[in-house]
């Protein structure tokens, strides 16, 4: 059904249609509206047969989810930013135990300095925790991916993170198609766990494992993600058949067929990138784009194929690996084996800095002329940085950097 609604609310409705049995909630901006929406549905009796639990921390939220999932309940939670870091130990644990929990990440920067706005530093920090990571480009996709996520998680007995750009998507109101219960029921069968805590058939879960078997257990997690490389496109195709629209998959290309320059990015920024690609195409440049939807598992083969005829690669990253540069670029290098091209890493949009069409256009033009540095920070205020560096040079006790820069920007 078509509806004008907030991204978070669409996600909440989608999750509710998946018939979750346990939802644990702890507030953190910008995911809060999602669990609020679900809590409202449970409290009002619209979402039946579901326990909604207000917990005392994100660590507890995911721990409650671990217990609920291990006891055979379809389990959901959501978090962001500091919350994801606070539950980090449980993030690895849920994956190690092979529990099919679905968790939304309302992508947000990590402090300090504290910042509530969007970038991908939070989910990127957990990229190797063993969860499948899907990145939504639009709110429609965000809503749809949750339905696919439960199916994927339960099929593989592996947790799935659905990453949704904070504010840009979570707080945006737009026209969205919310599926019917019948459609979702046709697509998503009831949860049939691979392992379950049940007094009728007692098992021990989470035992101590030494060197004799640990490698094998870890390898199996990798093996399952490799299986997900096949399963994700299948589930996306099946979703298309049931719901009548394309959503999900490993990656999505845009005007990339004959493109000599390819821009790669994750999440909502792909919308802006596509607009700029259109403009540059109009001007005669052979440029195209690719959105990575599944960052874990990483679609190496598909990206290798895509980039094998390209001359240039521009990776737009909403996170910074301090001390080296890009995380997505770094992962892409594995897929570039045997391919020779100019690769540019662009760190952009940290802490909610807008990524504008104008900035991207000028960036891509420089890339097309091969005038970009290997690592570029989009729209960096170099003057503000120089002033702070000068202060640090001038005196030992130069004070807190963030506050100094803010003062400069405000007072000047």
């Amino acid at each position: 059904m078509l509806k004008q609604c907030e991204g978070s609310h669409a996600i909440a409705e989608s999750v509710a249609l998946c018939r979750p049995e346990v939802i644990c909630a702890y507030p953190i901006t910008p995911q809060t509206h999602i669990v609020e929406g679900l809590g409202e549905m449970v409290k009002a009796g619209d979402l039946e047969n579901c326990e909604f639990i207000n917990v005392e921390s994100e660590f507890a939220a995911l721990s409650v989810a671990i217990g609920a999932s291990a006891a055979g309940a379809r389990t959901y939670t959501a978090t962001a930013s500091q919350g994801l870091l606070f539950m980090a130990e449980a993030v690895y644990n849920a994956a190690g135990l092979g529990l099919p929990i679905v968790m939304t990440i309302g992508n947000r920067a990590i402090g300090a300095p504290i910042n509530i706005w969007n970038d991908h530093t939070d989910s990127m920090s957990m990229r190797d925790a063993g969860w499948i990571q899907l990145y939504a480009e639009t709110n429609q996709e965000a809503a749809d991916l949750h339905i696919q996520a439960f199916r994927l998680a339960e099929e593989l007995s592996m947790p799935v993170m659905v990453c949704v750009d904070g504010f840009i998507l979570t707080h945006a109101y737009e026209r969205l198609d919310i599926p019917t219960q019948e459609q979702v029921d046709a697509y998503l069968p009831p949860f049939e766990p691979r392992q379950v805590l049940d007094p009728r058939e007692p098992v021990s879960i989470g035992a101590m494992v030494g060197p004799e078997a640990f490698m094998e257990v870890r390898y199996l997690a990798h093996h399952k993600q490799m299986r997900a490389l096949e399963l994700i496109p299948q589930l996306s195709a099946e979703f298309g058949q049931v719901f009548g629209r394309e959503s999900g998959g490993l990656m999505r290309t845009y005007r990339a067929e004959d493109a000599k320059t390819i821009v790669v990015a994750l999440g909502s920024v792909n919308g802006t990138i596509k607009d700029v690609v259109d403009e540059l195409r109009d001007d005669g440049y052979a440029i195209g784009a690719a959105a990575i939807l599944s960052f874990r598992p990483f679609p190496s083969d598909a990206l290798h194929e895509l980039l094998s005829h390209a001359k240039r690669l521009v990776v737009i990253e909403k996170s910074l690996a301090v001390g080296i540069g890009g995380i997505v670029s770094h992962n892409l290098r594995m897929a570039l084996s045997g391919i020779s091209l100019h690769a540019y890493t662009v760190v952009a949009g940290l802490g909610g800095r807008p990524i504008t069409k104008a900035s991207l256009r000028s960036l891509f033009e420089r890339a097309l002329r091969d005038e970009l540095e290997p690592l570029t920070f989009l729209d960096l205020n170099q003057a503000a940085i120089d002033r702070e560096l000068a202060r640090e040079q001038a005196q030992r006790r130069s004070g807190p950097s963030a506050e100094n820069i803010l003062r400069d920007l405000g007072v000047r």
């Binding site: 660590f59 217990g67 609920a68 291990a70 055979g72 130990e89 989470g206 101590m208």
Partner: protein
Amino acid sequence: MEMQQIKFYQTGTFTVGNRLLEADQRSVQANMERTNSLNSGHRACQGCGEALGARYAIDAAMRAANNQVIACNATGCLEVFSTPYPETSWQIPWIHSLFGNAAAVATGVMAAMKVKGRKDVRVIAQGGDGGTTDIGFGCLSGMFERNDDVLYLCYDNEAYMNTGVQRSSATPPAARTATTMALGAEPGNAFGQGKNVPLIAMAHGIPYVATASVAYLRDLEAKVSRAMTVRGARYIHILVPCPLGWGAAPHDTIKLARLAVETGIFPLFEAEHGEVTSSNKIRHRVPVEEYLRPQKRFAHLFGKTPAVDTLARIQDMADRNIRKFRLMDERRHG
């Protein structure tokens, strides 16, 4: 014929002989149908108080719940010695997730059982003192505050034994651990620190809180059975001596667990909804020195010049417990 009094207790130990009781009064462990939830063959040290306490507590819970029990374990000795993969001593559904989240995992299991209409299945969370009073404290308090239908069992051996005897917030004053060395002007753990989690549990107003000791196994069974008749958050704090960490002989585990109670150092009591409802009376009061002396962790108190001031401070603490929890039979001693 003259009436002859039955010797109900074995001489000097106060241990009830099962043979002298009616069949329905005998302990869970005396029953052929006990579940052996924590089965033999695990790798606990000789004389491990935690293994003993866990076996009695879980078997008692199993009997009370008609064998419908799921247990969630914190990281620690109990988890490590019971489940080196691919072996497990647990005959019940059992999960270990992390060090600090046993109470929250139990909440999750409880929620799943509720939503699946399995109200007959009872959920237990368990951990050592580190996993309970320190790293797991946030999740424990959250579970209490929500009054989730979980029985939490803390096996308190008063330090981080699994990692090599480091101080926890349950380590008693003056005790030597690997991080409170018996050195300097005030050797061992500091006075005036640590937390009393049974009292903190009571402050949450939860329906049932109790303390127990592996020297009084019938009492432990009775308290677990009592806890299982209640719905909501319940907490039992069980003193379990650790021969390795305390520097004591394995055959002295029960003796030390008893002396901790008889000195007043570890009061046994029950509380409901935040109020103490009963306490176990001390039948044979002993000075704290008798409890402390056999333990190497307190050896620095008994050197060439005994630490009389420190011993007096510990005796003071014990005396305060005796007054506060009314541990002496007031008709005889008051």
